[in-house]
Symmetry: C2
Subunit: 227 residues, 2 copies
Amino acid sequence: MSTAEATNEAASSSSSDDPRERILSAAGEEFAERGFEATTVRHICLAAGVNVASVNYYFGDKQRLYHETVRQAHQQLVAQVPLSPWPVGTPARDRLRGFIGNVLERMLGFGRPRWQNRLMLREVLQPTEACRDLVDDYIRPQFNRLISILDELASGQLEQPQLRRVAMSIFGQMFVYRAADDVVGMLIPADERDALHTPVPLADHITHYALAALGLAIPLTTPESRA
Amino acid sequence: MSTAEATNEAASSSSSDDPRERILSAAGEEFAERGFEATTVRHICLAAGVNVASVNYYFGDKQRLYHETVRQAHQQLVAQVPLSPWPVGTPARDRLRGFIGNVLERMLGFGRPRWQNRLMLREVLQPTEACRDLVDDYIRPQFNRLISILDELASGQLEQPQLRRVAMSIFGQMFVYRAADDVVGMLIPADERDALHTPVPLADHITHYALAALGLAIPLTTPESRA
DNA sequence: AGGTGATTGAAACGCCTGTTTGAAATGCCT
DNA sequence: AGGCATTTCAAACAGGCGTTTCAATCACCT
């Protein structure tokens, strides 16, 4: 009838326009929440408001849809990583605190689509083919970035293997809050969790813990009188 | 009607006798490897060498079989935890090193059925109803044990919330090697991984890292000449 | 031995899965 | 307008899933 002129070309930045993107978005949430096996194509299409045949039309099959979903999510995550907003001359310990706070914020924060994070976590915990790209483009750069900060902090006193160990220790301290958050919630009282185990105070703690271990901050305790 | 235990239940050590135990063992491996959703009852029964109807006869349905599998695995794991083999008067730092080495050995070691570990990890990462018991009987006691060691090390200088944070940091450093082992393998060169990221040297590192942070061991680096 | 309840077995039950079909609807070009 | 490729749709496909059936078998008791 009327409305003949549907000259598209109108942006399409949103997700409610292109069916392909609607499928990707819905699939992301479903895969992230339930995992690949437990997610059904029908459920995705229902959430996306498209026909069941669409996933086959646009992506071939469920497997390729999953790969494409992971790829898109990890690229969007990479695009959100701040490149290097540190003014030259920023002390290394400030950069360490900034790095840890930044990663924690992305891991635990409530910003942006939460499912992208969760999907990446799934890949880390149980890698598929899509994991290698994720490590190469996202995780390893962060890891090396942390190592270079630590290297500067240690003034070259630590060899690469030692730096990698310390870097992994720091990552582990952040990672456990993301991967085992349910159990953390069972071990830490609720009010204490809200007060101390959130990105900002947690970043302070992990940073201080690292600096103290490196001998660059006062230890958490002062030695008892030790004659 | 009822009665699945007319005869006794002796000879429960081996796995080739009682069909019920054969099912539990096979189910444990399958569930641990593939997860609940991706595991099929038919596959379990094939591996156990029993008829498909057996799982229904002995356990009711797949869900209850899963619960029973987790329950059994976690109880066997609890039974393997050394109770308190420390002679009185053992220095707290030795107990810390012993504790960390012990947990790492159980997490990463090759002893006993590996699937029990993996199944517990699944519960930690994505808890089901069975997770509460696991935390109450297995994880929280370990956590409190670590806290009491740290409390002694700190000579009462740290409040409970601070102790919990440090304890979580230590757990995180161990946990990441178990939960994200594939990615760790991508970040650390193979030879270095075999040399430094195995239970014994790892326990040394994490212990030293903690003691240094607490001011109870020499830091990893010595401060530069700082006029 | 005969009888009784516990266990096993092969086959089938719905149901839901991923995927395919072929026709209808839509958009786009000259 | 017509013609043509792209996109949508309801319906169906074969296959696998968890679960159930019920007859056959087994173990045990008097």
